[in-house]
């Protein structure tokens, strides 16, 4: 869990709607800012965030340069079965991070 802060309840009741929050360290450089040289700093953003529950996608977000640095996302998902929630971020410059959290649903 190097540069990612994830908040998922460890357990949930079957059918409960849980909130998942995730924040990742990333500059989200818009590609519109001039640097001190006067030249535009090249764009470097996360383009997509995806959440899967035991392999099935439950949420995704296409991000634009208008998403703030160190992007924070919160969303909801229905707790159906125990297993693994996988969170994936991909973007410019080959950025690809995946983190997995276990959840017990009873």
């Amino acid at each position: 869990m190097a540069n990612v802060l994830i908040n998922v309840p460890k357990t949930a009741r079957r059918g409960e709607v849980i909130e998942i929050k995730a924040m990742i360290l990333h500059p989200m450089e818009t590609g519109f800012r001039p640097g001190t040289s006067g030249r535009i700093i090249p764009r470097n953003i996360i383009e997509r965030f995806t959440a899967t529950w035991n392999g099935t996608e439950v949420f995704s977000m296409a991000m634009s340069p208008a998403i703030a640095a160190n992007p924070f996302v919160s969303f909801f998902a229905v707790a159906r079965e125990s297993g693994t929630i996988a969170l994936r971020w991909t973007g410019d410059e080959g950025f690809a991070v995946e983190e997995r959290v276990a959840i017990t649903v009873a």
């Binding site: 190097a2 990612v4 990742i24 160190n70 919160s74």
Partner: protein
């Protein structure tokens, strides 16, 4: 009738002096109180405060061996919870030294002196992460500068810097942060400038930063030349500011605009 009025008068006088004896009304405000509800909420929620991302990095750094010693912070200090109260009493003069260091300076002394590792430069991410982790252990604790008489000349120099006019705008810290705190400047409320939440996640920086970095922004603000990064002025000013904020609660890692 006259007697009743006299008694009432005495009771009122007693109540007033009793109230006054309870101590002066706290007029100091943290920058937290000058922010809108959205930013206060961002700071209060540990699952959403961007500073907590750096605290997590600090937690990893705490257990990571460093330098030729192969030792981590944990190897000497144990669990980081033992650092409670530490951030509340910095800057301080370390053993064997004759001038104070700030918290980042103290961490670097551990790196060079105990871990045989290279010191981290100012605003280094790992350094800030450890500062955030250590400062978090003092969250809720009152700021309590050490009662070290050797700090007095540094604190006095800090007070002198605070009151000195500087820069092309010829403003002193006191003019904005004492005389005009609470009023608006460029659409935002001027805070009293108590360093209760460092290192802070400043939205302007889009990252965590130290008091030194914030003070440099102030110097740019008054169009003064920022002092070199290793200047004692920053530590002297912080020594004064922490004394000025004595008793106020640490709220690190804070969020600020």
């Amino acid at each position: 009738m006259k007697a009743a009025r006299a008694v009432l008068g005495l009771v009122a006088l007693f109540a007033a002096t009793w109230a006054a004896a309870q101590g002066t009304l706290e007029t100091r405000r943290s920058g937290y109180q000058d922010m809108g509800p959205a930013l206060r909420q961002m700071q209060d929620d540990d699952t959403a405060n961007p500073g907590m991302l750096f605290v997590q990095l600090g937690d990893q750094a705490w257990s990571r061996p460093a330098g030729t010693s192969g030792k981590s912070c944990a190897d000497c200090h144990g669990a980081v919870a033992g650092m409670k109260g530490v951030a509340a009493r910095y800057p301080a003069i370390p053993p064997g030294a004759d001038k104070p260091v700030d918290l980042g300076g103290r961490i670097n002394l551990c790196r060079t002196g105990r871990q045989q590792a290279e010191p981290w430069p100012a605003e280094n991410r790992d350094l800030l992460a450890l500062e955030a982790l250590v400062a978090l252990q003092s969250r809720g604790e009152p700021i309590a500068p050490p009662a070290d008489p050797r700090l007095a000349p540094f604190r006095e120099r800090g007070a002198e810097i605070y009151r000195r006019r500087q820069g092309q705008l010829n403003l002193s810290c006191a003019i904005c942060h004492d005389d005009n705190a609470g009023k608006q400047l460029a659409g935002v409320v001027i805070p009293q400038a108590h360093p209760t939440g460092y290192p802070i996640y400043r939205l302007e920086w889009q990252t965590l930063g130290s008091l030194k970095r914030r003070l440099r922004n102030c110097l740019v603000g008054v169009r003064a030349d920022a002092w070199p990064l290793d200047a004692m002025e920053y530590v002297e000013l912080e020594t004064y500011l922490m004394d000025r904020a004595r008793g106020m609660k640490i709220e690190s890692p804070a969020v600020r605009p």
